[in-house]
């Protein structure tokens, strides 16, 4: 089966269809058991691929399924979630069919994740230098001395002041920004090919966040790593990501190169999000419907129909196609927005 065939079948969308993606998520469905007989589908068939060296943003409001996606890519959906369908192809392997032991070898080594709460991630009883070094020791099979040398270099790379001294610091001795840098150092020490940043900068102060973002981009470029950058903050993605996917209610509703997404948004949900930042009640009113008229999930048709100001009858009965509005720019909408 040729790659092109797979791509057309699964509506997969990548930045450059000619190149083989580094990671390829196909039709990923995650369900959670609910009180009733039918489990609740939290991710409704996600198709997403990331090219080597590419930074892809994933934005969505709380509850859209961002963290579920981050964890599921690593083969561990948040409990009690279950992988109901789908494949994640990475470096020639289908991650979701790997054994627990194989997954463990992959995570941290070739694939790693940076989470938003660094303190919960670090062992409070171990010096941070040892924690970073042990990642290298376990995954790269280097000597203890070499692992420590690498850890120290990593602390320098993440621009922690006085890195020699910080090697022997315990997590509680570090500020939130420092602890976040340590977690980034742990995630990057094995030079992973793919990094998932799950809201990793949201708890930081803005001046520190700006530094950490610059650092992530620099390290990704130097190491040639690709990144999935998950965030609630649409503004960051406009300055940091090559392509952006917009997640709504467990579904990617729009994906586009950065310029196209912000200058010619096509899905009404994206327009609503951007209108919320405009501080113009007039614009907001034209791209949203009042809260009282929402919150009814539709079995058939478009998930967004009840909140969509331009929805028509067909939107409530038929699932919209993933329409290509310009090269590489897709929107799951029957009536993708046009820009005159």
């Amino acid at each position: 089966m040729g790659a092109a065939e797979v791509i057309s079948k699964t509506e997969n969308v990548s930045g450059d269809a000619g190149k083989a993606p580094l990671i390829d998520i196909r039709n990923l469905r995650i369900t959670f058991p609910s009180g009733g007989a039918e489990p609740k589908t939290v991710l409704k068939g996600i198709n997403l691929s990331v090219q080597p060296g590419e930074i892809v943003g994933l934005v969505g409001e709380s509850g859209a399924g961002k963290t579920t996606l981050a964890r599921s890519i690593l083969g561990v959906p948040p409990a009690p979630g279950r992988i109901a369908a789908g494949e994640v192809h990475f470096e020639g392997r289908q991650i979701l069919s790997l054994s627990e032991a194989e997954l463990r070898r992959l995570r941290g080594r070739r694939l790693s994740v940076v989470v938003p709460n660094p303190r919960a991630e670090l062992n409070p009883l171990r010096k941070v230098g040892d924690q970073i070094a042990s990642m290298a020791k376990i995954h790269l099979n280097v000597s203890r001395k070499e692992a420590r040398r690498m850890a120290l270099q990593m602390l320098r790379d993440v621009q922690i002041p006085d890195p020699e001294r910080r090697m022997d610091a315990y997590p509680h001795e570090l500020s939130g920004g420092m602890a976040q840098r340590v977690v980034i150092a742990m995630a990057l020490i094995c030079n992973p090919a793919f990094v998932i940043s799950d809201d990793a900068t949201s708890g930081l102060d803005v001046t520190v966040q700006a530094q950490i973002l610059a650092l992530l981009a620099k390290l990704a470029a130097e190491h040639g790593s690709a990144m999935l950058f998950i965030t609630r903050d649409v503004g960051i993605t406009a300055h940091f990501c090559d392509r952006i996917a917009v997640l709504f209610s467990g579904e990617i509703v729009e994906i586009a190169p950065r310029e196209a997404l912000f200058l010619e948004p096509a899905h009404p949900y994206t327009l609503m999000l951007l209108a919320a930042f405009s501080h113009s009640p007039k614009l907001r009113d034209s791209w949203s419907v009042p809260e009282t008229a929402r919150r009814r999930e539709l079995a058939a048709g478009c998930q967004y129909a009840d909140r969509c100001p331009i929805a028509q009858a067909v939107c409530r009965t038929h699932r919209p196609p993933f329409a290509e509005v310009s090269p590489g720019h897709f929107a799951r909408c029957h009536f993708p927005v046009r820009h005159a």
Partner: protein, 351 residues
């Protein structure tokens, strides 16, 4: 002109248990708020914004300095109890944490009226008015907080604050836990209430884009000091303190071409508020630093109408930092992009 609130040289020190050290949370804050005015108080976490708000509403006792409400010293809060009753209110950050989960919405909203000795009928009427003011459905009076969305919960928080018809409301990060749409709706609501009732706001936030939009004036806090204070337009478009400029340049607006230009790139992180350095608190991070900054705290200098700045080199900062009106450019761009957008034709094969 009589200010609603005047803070003069406020200090707050928190002792550290088992230590002789203190946390220097507020270090000489002075500000005024006029009736019907919004003062945006911005700064990063640990800058002392919330502590200032808590001193105003009496949740904590200042170490030194005075806070006057309509000229009355709040240190003698209890003596002015009848005149002050309900005139200063507070809205918290996390609506789901600040509402009592076992209390019905109606009771939560009317609770601040209890000490004011209104009869039952007046309380009922005022509660209904407050609910209408925040555009919540009267059916929700008997609901519990868990049945509401976080946007609705924050409306309850605002209704509870407004029910006593306050002259000043301290809003501590009222929108930061909310998604963009709910946030925009709450901001509209606050602006409408201010227009209708001439309420003054102290709007504490780290969200500069929202502060720019809602505030008449802005005070920028760093390590317990207001380093710059002035009209929102002046401080945002032409900052004269290196920290204001650095903070602004870290704002990322959802537009790929709009970045706030700054020659100030702040290095490192905020020093600990324990044992603060002798000179200017920004000296270790500031690209404009000169020797004098490390020894001497720059005094507040008036550089324009109600515009003060604590920096020896403010005129150099003003000269090198390009004046920009990026927030307004962004709003115009949003208008252009979203205003011209039209639904397209049917995209699928259903045609």
């Amino acid at each position: 002109m009589s200010a609603v609130l005047t803070i003069d040289n406020l200090y707050k020190r928190f002792p550290i248990a088992g230590s002789k050290q203190v946390v220097q949370a507020i270090n000489g804050v002075s500000l005024t708020i006029e009736p019907g005015e919004t003062l945006g108080l911005v700064g990063e976490s640990g800058s002392g914004k919330t502590t200032v708000g808590r001193c105003i509403v009496g949740l904590i006792e200042p170490t030194a300095g005075t806070i006057r409400f309509r000229g009355k010293d709040l240190a003698q809060r209890h003596q002015h109890k009848s005149e002050l009753g309900g005139k200063i209110q507070f809205v918290f950050q996390e609506p789901n944490e600040s509402l009592d989960p076992r209390m019905k919405i109606g009771d939560t909203i009317s609770e601040p009226l209890l000490p004011l000795k209104y009869d039952r009928e007046t309380r009922r009427r005022r509660t209904a008015d407050a609910l209408r003011l925040v555009r919540l459905d009267p059916d929700l009076l008997d609901a519990y907080p868990s049945e509401l969305s976080s946007g609705q919960q924050q409306r309850v928080g605002i209704a509870r604050a407004m029910v006593t018809e306050p002259e000043l409301v301290v809003l501590d990060e009222p929108t930061s836990a909310l998604d963009p749409t709910a946030r925009a709706e709450i901001i509209d609501l606050l602006r409408r209430i201010q227009r209708e009732r001439n309420t003054a706001y102290l709007f504490i936030s780290h969200d500069l884009s929202t502060v720019r939009f809602i505030s008449h004036r802005v005070a920028v806090m760093y390590l317990g000091m207001i380093v710059e204070q002035g009209s929102a337009e002046t401080v945002f478009n032409r900052p004269q303190h290196p920290y204001s400029s650095g903070l602004l340049s870290s704002v990322m607006l959802p537009h790929p071409h709009l970045k706030i230009e700054s020659t100030v790139s702040l290095k490192g992180e905020i020093p600990s508020p324990i044992n603060l350095p002798k000179g200017c608190f920004l000296a270790s991070r500031c690209p404009f630093v000169i020797d004098r900054c490390r020894h001497e705290m720059p005094p507040a200098e008036t550089v324009g109408e109600r515009h003060t700045v604590h920096c020896f080199r403010h005129s150099d900062v003003a000269a090198t930092v390009p004046a920009s009106d990026t927030f307004n450019v962004f709003m115009k761009e949003a208008e252009r992009i979203l205003g011209r957008a039209k639904p397209g034709g049917l995209a699928s094969s259903l045609q």
